[in-house]
Subunit: 594 residues, 2 copies
């Protein structure tokens, strides 16, 4: 069976029917969520993307429709025409719960086999089954809500940027592979056998070229690609909101983007973002939170207790300090009674961040419990607790090592403890922060040279220009990340538009003229012809939608995502191809694994 | 030199300054279009994406600025601050021509070498140079105007579809290669060596799946890919406005899209599209214009003169008719005096469309000039001319052959003649037509079987259902193309949602269950679970923008296009890649050409 509409028109969506529609004749179309046969009556809950509507069929109402309605099963696609009536026993949980539809006629538009997964909210099916039957998984109301949020977010972003003079411009998908950065997805060329296009990791170079071309304000919501091993919440293809502006400085870009965030969160989920968004220099974020994307929804800052323990006897602290490292702590409020097993687990946890161990002090009323207490006089212990800001009832957790290890491990421990202690449970806050003043360079211990932290076109801060040659490790960049609840939502920088300055940076990074040319040739060529001052920012749209939708699974915000192996169980991509296709491209498969 | 902005803010764009701004202090930023040194004064035409503004520097105005301004050359990027004054000798050709800016201070933001192409409208440089220095070519005001039109078109489409309840949804770029259709671009998989993704030729299957998933109304402005030899106005990557709707029939889709076209042409270029757009069945288009995308801006329809010449002696006509073919003509008004050479050229022209020759009759006052006149009695000739609708002064051009050859060659000849005669010169009309009632199938002479004209999910017209088995060649589809001035702007169809009907179509196309499954597996699987009636349409955005911008070169509407060999002279893509990248992917290059 599969009836045609034959001119039948839907007059309203299921979820929109209200008491104001009572006595109207309507036609709705959708899927059978549930059918109940109560003998003389058949009830059908009909679902479309707006919600559910109860339809009642009866011999008294229309015999033919009643009999046909009794044939339907879950997920049949049907059309029903009839009068809206007041419901005898209202369902207050449903926006349409005050009314029901008298089923006077029904068309069975198509039948359905029993679906392999339930179409309901908060489905608890295996990811593989959900991905294989993604078209059914996408019928679930919670998935539909998320994808409607995604549409809305894109629309608001476009409206806002259009109003602010931005032009949406498409950049190429078939581009040139660049030797560094993440691994490119390659596309063999048929016209030039042996040569390859690369799918873009970002439109970075093209958007800078558009600034050179005088387009002034560019944006694009665009797919980007990275062929990396997939960690959680990474997909091989992901979507960026990418923007760039000319004749601006950092303050202009921040102001524009604060307006954007305020608008998106307000219009999409009715959340007020307080402006201006607070700012924190990179160094402060690292020192207080051990991270350049600090979660500021709770405190538990890292405390530097190096001075308080300097000169004491504990060899581990002593050694760290002598090696130029530090001793730092976080304080778990009112956790002095935490069990030994739990504390040991935290010790194991910090080891995954290269810390050699975790010292702890349980500061109880009239009693200090700690394996390291014996190394400290009462006075020194009091000094330590005071420096850590600990109060009676608290648990102090301490790492001593080189700074990078101390900060990273305590930063991770802070988040782990917050999870463990349920500190953020029920927290609905959206805590934004701009991280600024990033270092220009990191020192690469293996290559024994500085490498760019962002990319080599990032401009240094004016006040740090002289450090470029004298102390490059201390030079800060005009770079900024926008961080929300401990996740990086986006980031960008002001770019260098002065060729002399660019040359200094290249020299510093150890590029020869040739090697710089090989990597960035056409952008450097373009910069010979009057590049404007410019800068920009890129957001991860997938992550933004995750926040807006309140999900922590990136697969929830993408229509047809890949699994952890970059495989799609539904379409079975990637897959083998015809030998002839490979011959056309001049390539051969040299390695096949099962 | 490359000065920083250091807090200097642009207050207005160059092209926006008007008499109302006189005596205001403004800051503008842009590129030097032209500099003239008149001794005591230096004039600079400053350009940004909004237009030009004349700036005057003088020793009297500000000596330092005057001297610095004299250093600038074409395409230097500068910022100028000063007072807006009335211009002594206004330039009426420029929107800013009533005013000029007193250059009180200037910053040279960056210098420029002499650009290899001129930055001016209607540039006459070679395509290769323009593509190599695309970032300079894109500075040209006419290119900027086009890309602003493109942005605007996308914005209006999105606004309209959003208002009409459509959700913009992204579908995957890394999909599965399908064995038929155009050639896919392939992407080797690193996780599954020997396997490949394909870049999508269109999101067809995914958008149908989204209808199965209940999203009701989907759209996307999306890149699509075809690895075909590039004819003029084809690019390896192109952009579609792709949409699909559930619970609708053809009339709903046409109405929605007429609204869309009206809105786009009105808002982007202020052209009124008259609704409803006229419609023409495929058969009529073929018979009158020899094309399924007829240019209706002029007449010169094809006339069937078979009956008028039946029984006459001319062997070519006779043979064609006896073979089941036809004799048809087009009439070139007032062209009876066309020279023999020109007519011979037209004869050569139709041969490229497989016509064996072109008969012609010059119908002059009191005289018939024609190589075939001798085969016709005066009466028969009069009958022929009458059937063709020729009048004194006209030239009649005739092809006799099987219908397909006659129609195709006369259809092409009609367009060629219109070009030759300048019939459309200065014509500003936008002549839209819906072509409907396409055949379901074409007979493939080689494979001796019917193949789908659109795709095998296209629904047949209800009144032709019974023809599917009895006379499939005559069965018409619920398919429609929107044609503008002889170009296909978009096309679509109502899809089959009835699995029994789908089975009949597959049988007819000679698919076994297995072969159908191999090609369309996951869509067929999805259709087991209550697919809604649905249909859609896809536009070529690039072509739409070509119409809106009035250009006939697709490269004009794309930021960074490829050349005819799918090569980008600017980025030098495609290119060689590191051996290591290929090893990672498990592929080898088996053929290398220079």
């Amino acid at each position: 069976m599969g009836e045609s509409l034959n001119g039948l028109k839907r007059t309203i969506m299921c979820g929109e029917v209200r008491e104001s529609n009572i006595s109207e004749k309507i036609t709705v179309m959708g899927w059978v969520q549930r059918k109940r046969n109560l003998g003389s009556l058949v009830f059908v809950d009909l679902r479309d993307r707006t919600g559910l509507l109860q339809v009642v069929f009866g011999e008294e109402i229309n015999k033919e429709a009643f009999e046909k309605a009794d044939l339907v099963k879950s997920e049949y696609c049907i059309a029903v025409t009839g009068e809206v009536i007041k419901r005898e026993s209202p369902n207050k949980n449903l926006p349409t719960g005050m009314v029901e539809l008298k089923g006077e006629s029904i068309k069975i538009l198509s039948e359905s086999e029993t679906p392999p997964i339930y179409i309901k909210e908060n489905l608890d099916a295996s990811e593989n089954i959900r991905l294989k039957y993604r078209y059914l998984d996408l019928r679930r109301p919670d998935m539909q809500k998320i994808l409607m949020i995604r549409h809305k977010a894109g629309k608001v972003v476009r409206d806002y940027l259009d109003e602010n003079g931005f032009l949406e411009m498409e950049t190429p998908m078939l581009t040139k592979s660049t030797p560094e950065g993440a691994r490119d997805y390659l596309v063999p060329s048929r016209n030039y056998p042996g040569m390859f296009y690369a799918l873009p990791q970002s439109p970075q170079i093209f958007k800078q070229l558009l600034m050179v071309s005088g387009y002034d304000k560019y944006f694009q919501i665009v797919k980007c690609f990275r062929d990396e091993d997939l960690r959680a919440n990474r997909q091989p293809e992901f979507t960026q909101i990418d923007l760039e502006m000319s004749f601006v400085e950092m303050e202009d870009i921040i102001a524009l983007n604060e307006g954007l965030l305020k608008r998106v969160f307000k219009e999409v989920i009715d959340v007020d973002v307080q402006l201006p968004i607070k700012r924190m220099p990179y160094a402060e974020a690292m020192n207080k939170y051990g991270s350049d994307k600090p979660d500021l929804r709770f405190g538990m800052e890292i405390q530097n207790i190096t001075e308080a323990v300097r000169g004491t006897d504990f060899a581990v602290f002593k050694g760290a300090i002598e090696n130029g490292g530090s001793v730092r702590a976080i304080v778990a409020k009112n956790c002095a009674d935490m069990g030994r097993k739990k504390i040991d687990k935290l010790g194991e946890f910090v080891k995954t961040y290269k810390a050699k161990g975790l010292a702890w002090i349980a500061y109880k009323e009239g009693e200090i419990k700690s394996p390291i207490a014996k190394f400290f006089s009462e006075e020194d212990m009091a000094k330590l607790l005071n420096a850590a800001g600990a109060e009676v009832g608290d648990l102090v957790l301490i790492v001593a090592d080189v700074d990078s290890v101390v900060l990273q491990s305590l930063g991770a421990l802070r988040l782990e403890l917050a999870k463990e202690l349920g500190i953020l449970e029920g927290n609905k806050e959206f805590n934004f922060v701009w991280i600024t003043e990033f270092p220009m360079f990191e020192y690469d211990e293996e290559e024994k040279r500085f490498v760019a932290l962002h990319h080599p076109f990032t401009a240094p801060m004016d006040e740090d220009l002289e450090l470029l040659e004298t102390d490059p490790g201390r030079a800060r960049a005009k770079a900024y990340d926008i961080v929300l609840n401990g996740e990086e939502l986006g980031g960008g920088s002001i770019r260098i538009h002065d060729t002399n300055l660019q040359q200094r940076i290249f020299n510093l990074l150890g590029f020869t003229d040739e090697s710089a040319w090989e990597r960035f040739g056409f952008l450097l060529e373009a910069f010979k012809y009057g590049p404007p001052p410019h800068g920009g920012l890129a957001y991860g749209l997938d992550r933004m939608v995750m926040f807006l939708a309140g999900t922590d699974n990136i697969k929830d915000v993408i229509t047809f995502p890949k699994n952890q192996n970059a495989y799609c169980p539904m379409s079975e991509a990637p897959n083998v191809v015809d030998k002839k296709q490979l011959i056309d491209l001049g390539i051969e498969v040299s390695k096949v694994e099962k």
